[in-house]
């Protein structure tokens, strides 16, 4: 039986996306593994650090040259930026180089945790949204901050589950749940995802999508892992739409006595032949 014809596609900045899996391109062991993992992921949006790519000629770039044949939306990120002004400068470099007008704002204040600087992130989001960018800020999992980012013009907000590359999963599902509840733009869980179960958890919480890089690129088999992530994100989304059961403290039998074989074998007190 097919479900309704309701089109459950993620829309960001007016663009209807084929996939809810946003794909990070860093740290893959070889171009072949990157290409095959990207195919297995079936992702449409890819992210990469602007500081790493060749802005003079994008087609020459050591990374982007391997994905030029695919129909993708680029989400250049400002990783390494420490201030709003720097992030804005990087975003403009990327747009100037023809990489599109989407940008992932990523501003870190601490080299060890790489946690986002909330104040600079808000400033940069405001400046870039006013300048016509489709802004997706990577942010702390703070519900108030996320709503301020939304007011500042973010096309989606991307709270981290835990620090970048840590693989610690969703450390504060309660906050993420609040963010999702209140947001009027898509919420993409970015950073800290360790395995497909974290991605499925994020989607079941009601996230609109998941951005993952390290848990795919550094897996023993990134191609297989990309496929596993795709399936987990799809499964989590379906589960969210399907509606999970409430949690109960004690068992409740999955088959009721009346309808069971043993129930039927007992002498019946009603019905039957008179």
């Amino acid at each position: 039986m097919s479900t309704s014809s309701f089109d459950d596609r993620l829309v960001i900045g007016g663009k209807r996306l084929r996939s809810r899996f946003l794909f990070g391109t860093g740290r893959f062991p070889s171009p072949a593994v990157l290409q095959q993992a990207l195919s297995a992921a079936e992702a449409e949006v890819i992210t990469f650090a602007v500081r790493r790519v060749s802005l003079e000629r994008v087609e020459d770039d050591s990374l982007l040259q391997h994905v030029l044949d695919k129909e993708l939306i680029y989400l250049p990120n400002t990783s390494g930026a420490r201030t709003a002004e720097e992030a804005v400068r990087i975003a403009k470099l990327a747009r100037g180089a023809g990489l599109g007008n989407w940008v992932k704002v990523e501003i870190s204040a601490n080299a060890r945790t790489l946690l986002p600087d909330p104040i600079e992130t808000l400033k940069a989001t405001d400046m870039l949204a006013n300048d016509g960018f489709v802004v997706l800020p990577y942010t702390s999992d703070d519900p108030i901050l996320c709503s301020k980012l939304e007011q500042a013009g973010a096309a989606a907000v991307m709270p981290g589950g835990s620090p970048i590359g840590s693989g610690l999963g969703l450390l504060n599902p309660y906050h993420l749940g609040l963010i999702i509840e209140e947001a009027k733009v898509p919420v993409i869980i970015d950073a800290g995802i360790g395995s497909p179960k974290d991605a499925a958890e994020a989607m079941e919480l009601g996230a609109s999508g998941v951005l993952a890089n390290t848990p795919v690129a550094k897996a023993l088999d990134p191609i297989l892992m990309a496929q596993a992530f795709r399936m987990a994100i799809e499964a989590g989304r379906m589960a969210r739409l399907a509606g999970r059961i409430p949690k109960k403290r004690y068992a409740s039998a999955s088959s009721e006595e009346q309808g069971s074989l043993f129930g039927a074998a007992r002498p019946s007190t009603a019905g039957g032949q008179d």
Partner: protein
């Protein structure tokens, strides 16, 4: 303990393993389907740069690279003195150059762990950078200088190793053609049959050092061996003098000044099966990158261009070790961009395994069976 050894594959890894096994008194034959010198080996820029190649964390792969760097000085001088062939080892140091302010943040954590491992790396300012590399573009705003990194001339190293193997009395068989069969033998050890060899050959141990071709052994070993060739295109310029003093890395390319008045620029990586031709696109992106980072190269013509096949793996780490259920067969393949650097440590590990000696490094991360899951 094994006493007769067949090394399959005559690239830098196979030659190094054969040399090591013979030094330990084992009777060694090395069998190469084509010509000695390999497909990745001779094409490599010969950089010994474990820090620059590992910027994220001191994982198992970094530790393997690091151990190998430490073996290099003694290993090189031994091979050079046995053969009288210079491998043109240049202790140049390296500089990773940056154009963006945003590059500086990740440098901090990199420098911290690199220096804990003795890299003696330092962040150099634009002014210092121009003193170290006078010809670098003014757009370079900073660099990481790592004094302990160096380079050899890879084709010479391959020639020297081949000569060293001959000197040790190793049976050297080239042009053996394709592998036709490999099987464990009922009497112990394993036997192989090659297209151009009349008889099957048997040894107590067969060591597979087949680089990018190693996945063909899947059918004989019952293992998943996801090694695939990545083409690496390289070009070189004529140099009047030493115009680039260090190994210079950027996000797009690297430059190495060789002793033979050649400046080598690499590498354009792409996925092209076993094709080793160069492409206009692959070489021209190096040319444009060279002109951008070193403006004096703008008007200089490319002198040579070539390509090699690098054996890449799914997780970026080589396959080194014994194969469970096949006591007569071991493997050392999948070294990707680091085969030259990893030669001495790979040879030492294989030598220890051949002698049933305890191995210093944990080999779990490199186990050839790690991609094969049963049940």
């Amino acid at each position: 303990m094994a006493s007769t050894i067949i090394i399959l594959g005559g690239g830098i890894i196979g030659l190094s393993c054969a040399y090591e096994a013979a030094k330990r008194g084992l009777k060694v034959s090395i069998i190469e389907p084509g010509a000695f010198g390999g497909q990745a080996s001779g094409a490599a820029a010969g950089m010994l740069a474990p820090f620059s190649e590992n910027t994220e964390q001191p994982d198992h792969f970094f530790q393997l690279c690091y151990s190998s760097l430490n073996l290099f000085p003694a290993w090189i001088s031994e091979i050079e003195s046995i053969t009288g062939i210079s491998t043109e080892w240049v202790q140049s140091g390296s500089i990773h150059v940056f154009q963006h302010e945003a590059d500086l943040l990740p440098i901090q954590s990199r420098l911290q762990w690199h220096n804990e491992w003795g890299a003696r790396s330092e962040l150099v300012s634009q002014a210092q950078l121009r003193k170290l590399e006078p010809h670098i573009t003014e757009d370079a705003i900073a660099g990481i200088y790592t004094p302990g990194e160096s380079h050899v001339f890879a084709p010479k190293l391959a020639i020297a190793l081949e000569a060293a193997c001959s000197k040790l009395g190793i049976e050297m068989i080239s042009q053996a053609g394709q592998l036709e069969d490999l099987k464990p033998s009922a009497v112990g050890g394993a036997s192989i049959r090659m297209q151009n060899m009349r008889k099957a050959r048997h040894a107590d141990q067969v060591v597979i050092c087949s680089g990018a071709w190693a996945s063909q052994f899947e059918q004989y070993l019952g293992l998943s061996i996801p090694i695939h060739p990545i083409r690496g295109q390289i070009c070189s310029y004529e140099m009047q003098e030493i115009e680039i003093r260090h190994i210079v890395f950027s996000s797009q390319a690297y430059w190495v000044g060789k002793k033979n008045d050649r400046l080598v620029c690499g590498a354009s990586e792409d996925v092209a099966g076993f094709d080793t031709t160069t492409t206009e696109r692959g070489i021209q992106r190096l040319v444009r990158s060279s002109a951008e980072w070193f403006p004096f190269l703008q008007d200089r013509a490319v002198a040579h261009q070539w390509a090699g096949l690098r054996p890449a793996t799914r997780d970026g780490m080589p396959l080194i070790g014994t194969i469970s259920g096949m006591p007569g067969i071991m493997m050392a393949a999948g070294h990707y961009r680091n085969g030259i650097l990893l030669s001495p440590i790979t040879a030492k590990l294989i030598g220890d395994l051949l002698e049933d000696k305890a191995v210093r490094l944990s080999l779990g991360a490199f186990a050839p069976s790690r991609f094969t899951v049963c049940l």
